[in-house]
Amino acid sequence: MNKVLLFAHLKEIAGQSSLEIDAAGQTVQSVRDTLVASLGNLDGVMIAVNEEFATDEIVIQAGDEIALIPPVSGG
């Protein structure tokens, strides 16, 4: 299983601050495509795996911690 940490508005959409999914063997792009169903548009949302930003083709291993970091525009 993989823990998915959520930030900013993604927490509100999910109603919780993290999700549990089984993403072992999937690419980052595939995880993104899957999560769109529950979290809505993820354009521009950066994905980190084990505290490191990952490109779309990286393959997730069992136990990897995933984090979704949306950019926000305020300032």
Binding site: F7, H9, G44, I69, G75
Partner: protein, 339 residues
Amino acid sequence: MYDRYSRQILFKQIGAKGQAEIRKKHVLILGVGALGTHTAEMLVRAGVGKITLIDRDYVEMSNLQRQHLFTEEDAQKKWPKAEAAKIRLQKVNHEVEIEAIVGHADATMLESLIANIDLLMDGTDNFEARFLLNDLAQKYHIPYLFGSCVGSFGMVFTIIPGVTPCLQCLLKRLPLQGQTCDTVGIIEPTVQMVTAHQGAEALKILSGNMETIRKSYVSFDLWDNEYVSLKADALKDSGCPSCGLEATYPYLQAETGLKVAVLCGRDTVQIRPTSTKPLPLEPLTKRWRSAGLEVGGNPFLVSVVLEGKRVVFFQDGRALIHGTNHVDQARKIYHSLIG
């Protein structure tokens, strides 16, 4: 020990040598809102040589909750933010040279200012301006300190051309802005958390301590007690249009046409003519007064109410149409007033 920078010089990673370096440097801060007022105050107190402050907006009451440097009087007078900040900052430190520019920063303006700039600080509230800063940083090899926040959530990243990934590498495209200050608000400690990081990075860069630059992307939520520090090296993209081998700096390309933009979190439309010839504010004021309209203002701008909407015209020809998000309605009001 009575020197005004003594406590910063005592910090041995800066020292007298680093302080002398800081005094030589020129920093450009784009946006003098929440982030920009905080970082400007830090740099001026720290004794930087010169700062250039650019902001197109004026002070309003709803700014005071999180934008330092400004007072109730600034809001009552609708003083332009860059000018209001400059007045306060010169009282804090007259030794720092402060250039205040009231206007919309486009590629042409920024490229005309870029000579001798040592650091670009992000005080903007939209990603279009951030991508422009990012391209500017890459084209002219100047460090750029990205920061942004809403609610209790914020992020910060140090962009060093040739070393770190750039904003384009990280985000790929202008992100959809799900959350704005207008929809989810903001608390002031979030701003301080971003500017604490931006400020420390600025002091490292200006004092010549490049080896301790923060390499990771920080994202935090002060309300939920979260803080993550994420390595970003893997996102550096050799094909990136902003920092790659064949960079074209897309956000610096020439622009044409009348610019109309709905302002994030303001219920306001901005209209800006292509040519920036100065508006004749005095004759316009007289004409509107004689037409029975409610007109106010100061040397920098004129405020006039039409059809229940407040419109503010700046010397550079820009107008803000308040109380609407409708571009067409805004254009109509604009043309009704200017002809």
